[in-house]
Amino acid sequence: MIDLLTIFVLAVFVGFEVVSKVSTILHTPLMSGANAIHGVILVGAILITGNAESALELVLGLLAVFLATVNVVGGFVVTDRMLEMFKGHKR
């Protein structure tokens, strides 16, 4: 428990620090990238569904898997498109 808390605290710091110097121009891509990352709930959804015992659980789990997948693939693809735009700019 305390280890998880420690992990949480450290992750908060890493999250803060990593992002704190971002240039304004990257705000939106960064937001979108982070958005894709929280799609990791897909892992949770798979685990839940993989162990579902009732039908309700299964339905909820499958819905979660579907939604999380949309989040993940959509998120990474959109972010990449945005960044392509940047690459296109001269210099």
């Binding site: 992990i7 949480f8 992750a11 908060v12 710091f13 890493v14 999250g15 803060f16 990593v18 992002v19 704190s20 110097k21 971002v22 121009i25 990257l26 705000h27 891509p29 960064l30 937001m31 990238g33 982070a34 958005n35 894709a36 990352i37 929280h38 799609g39 990791v40 709930i41 897909l42 892992v43 949770g44 685990l47 839940i48 569904t49 993989g50 579902a52 009732s54 659980e57 299964l58 909820l60 789990g61 499958l62 979660a64 579907f66 939604l67 999380a68 997948t69 949309v70 989040n71 693939v73 959509g74 998120g75 693809v77 959109v78 972010t79 990449d80 498109r81 960044l83 700019h89 001269k90």
Partner: protein, 452 residues
């Protein structure tokens, strides 16, 4: 153990992804690393955790891919923010569903577990419904104006209180029904939270909801005792919060205005009717506007002289040129207070004569100028001189900077220029005001540009 190690590697990938995404140079690589981390995590989870229902899961994932990729591919560049909002929303929903399902599976575990569940469900639902509303707003499926409901504040506070009560209740007495009620309350809260947020602030709200989803995922990590979810969710939660603050700062908006959008009416939103509003930007905004422009015209005026900012202007132009921006100076015949005032100053700063352009050089191509940077000039760019026969300065030729793609105005206040005439350009949508002494502003701008 191996599974855990893969998760650890995935978490590492996510950290590196965020790190990459915060520098222009590595942003793309960062995104790819993130995707890689996600891939190995998902595969591992599937291989190791999809004990039952493996096929169904695959189908659900395939469906997700089929929906997600084309949506992300086909969306217009301008519609990306609402797309991000939508993806964020479904992520939140997924988190809430996961917690709900786990709760149904193991309803009678410890209080801590229930607290985590409650948090996941509540935050997940807020995030979902809030995101959907922002999507509707940005997609203009509903008004993008702030919607202030009658008694909106009272309702919001009410729903918030109900949510808290429900949350505490579920934590103490595990009950599926109450949990569903809580989810509904969360959905309402999300809607109420976003409704009063107006046009320009919506992206900030999205960013905040994004951070919320991160927290929901982290909480679900506790529910599932899964370190990866905890780390990744926390990362997103923390970085999303900081990012939200940065975005609010960059737009010059106090974050509280947005956070408590439901309770206080936003401060600077364009209100229809009589009172005209101006948009004042930050040095960073302007730096980006300039740094990523292709062509810039600098229009200096008497304020440049008063501030003795000629050297600073020259440096700025020089820096922009080294970045590949094409820049020229628009020298108006009566800029300043004596004939040739600008010439004298710019010659002193050693600006090459070739960069000095006149009305006839600039105006014909002005519509393809990305940014007109007006440095302490006023009358010489006042569209009233062109459009309003009643104006005392009607008939003076001006630089038509109102026809450029964007205008940045550097002056100290809203006071008019020599002619004492109000300038409608200050209230134009395209215009960003940078208040302060021109030399100060230019110096700061220079520093900001170097950071880009």
């Amino acid at each position: 153990m191996t599974v855990q190690l893969v998760y650890l590697v995935a978490a590492l990938c996510f950290i590196l992804a965020l790190k990459g995404l915060s520098t222009p140079r590595y942003a793309r690589a960062g995104n790819l690393i993130g995707a890689f981390g996600m891939a190995i995590a998902v595969v591992t989870a599937y291989v190791h955790g999809a004990v039952h229902n493996g096929l169904l899961i695959l189908v659900a994932m395939a469906l997700g891919v089929v929906v997600g990729i084309p949506a992300a591919r086909s969306v217009k560049m301008t519609a990306i923010p609402q797309m991000v909002a939508l993806f964020n929303g479904v992520g939140g929903a997924a988190a809430a569903l996961v917690a709900l399902a786990e709760f149904l599976a193991v309803p009678t575990s410890s209080v801590l577990f229930r607290v985590a569940t409650v948090l996941t469900v509540l935050i997940g639902s807020v995030s979902f419904s809030g995101s959907v509303v922002t999507f509707l707003k940005l997609q203009e499926l509903m008004t993008s104006r702030p919607v202030v409901l009658p008694a909106g504040q009272v309702v919001s506070v009410g729903v918030a209180v109900v949510s808290v009560v429900l949350a505490v209740a579920v934590s103490v007495f595990p009950s599926g029904f109450l949990l569903v009620l809580l989810a509904l309350a969360g959905l309402a809260l999300g809607v109420l939270f976003v409704l009063p947020v107006g046009g320009a602030d919506v992206p900030i709200a999205i960013s905040l909801l994004n951070a919320f989803t991160g927290l929901a995922v982290a909480a679900s990590g506790y529910v599932l005792a899964n370190t990866l979810l905890i780390v990744a969710g926390t990362l997103v939660g923390a970085s999303g919060t900081i990012l939200t603050r940065l975005m609010a700062q960059a737009m010059g908006r106090p974050l509280t205005n947005i956070l408590f959008g439901a309770f206080t009416a936003p401060a600077l939103v364009a209100v229809a009717g009589e009172q005209r509003t101006v948009r004042s930007g930050t040095v960073e905004d302007v730096a980006i506007l300039l740094g990523y422009a292709h062509s810039v015209v600098v229009v200096p005026g008497y304020g440049l002289a008063v501030a003795q900012a000629q050297h600073a202007a020259r440096e700025l132009v020089h820096l922009l040129e080294t970045r590949g921006v094409s820049v020229s100076y628009g020298i108006h015949p009566v800029a300043g207070r004596m004939p040739g005032h600008m010439n004298v100053l710019l010659a002193e700063a050693d600006v090459p004569y070739e960069q000095l352009k006149e009305l006839d050089d600039i105006n014909p191509g002005i519509t393809s100028v990305d940014v007109a940077l007006v440095v302490g000039a006023n009358d010489v760019v006042n569209p009233g001189a062109r459009d309003e026969p009643s104006s005392p300065i009607y008939g003076m030729p001006i630089f038509d900077v109102d026809r450029a793609r964007a205008v940045v105005f550097m002056k100290r206040s809203m006071r008019p220029g020599f002619a004492g005439v109000d300038n409608t350009l200050l209230y134009n949508d395209k215009t960003t005001l940078l208040f302060g002494d021109a030399k100060d502003s230019l110096t700061k701008l220079l520093a900001a540009l170097k950071q880009l």
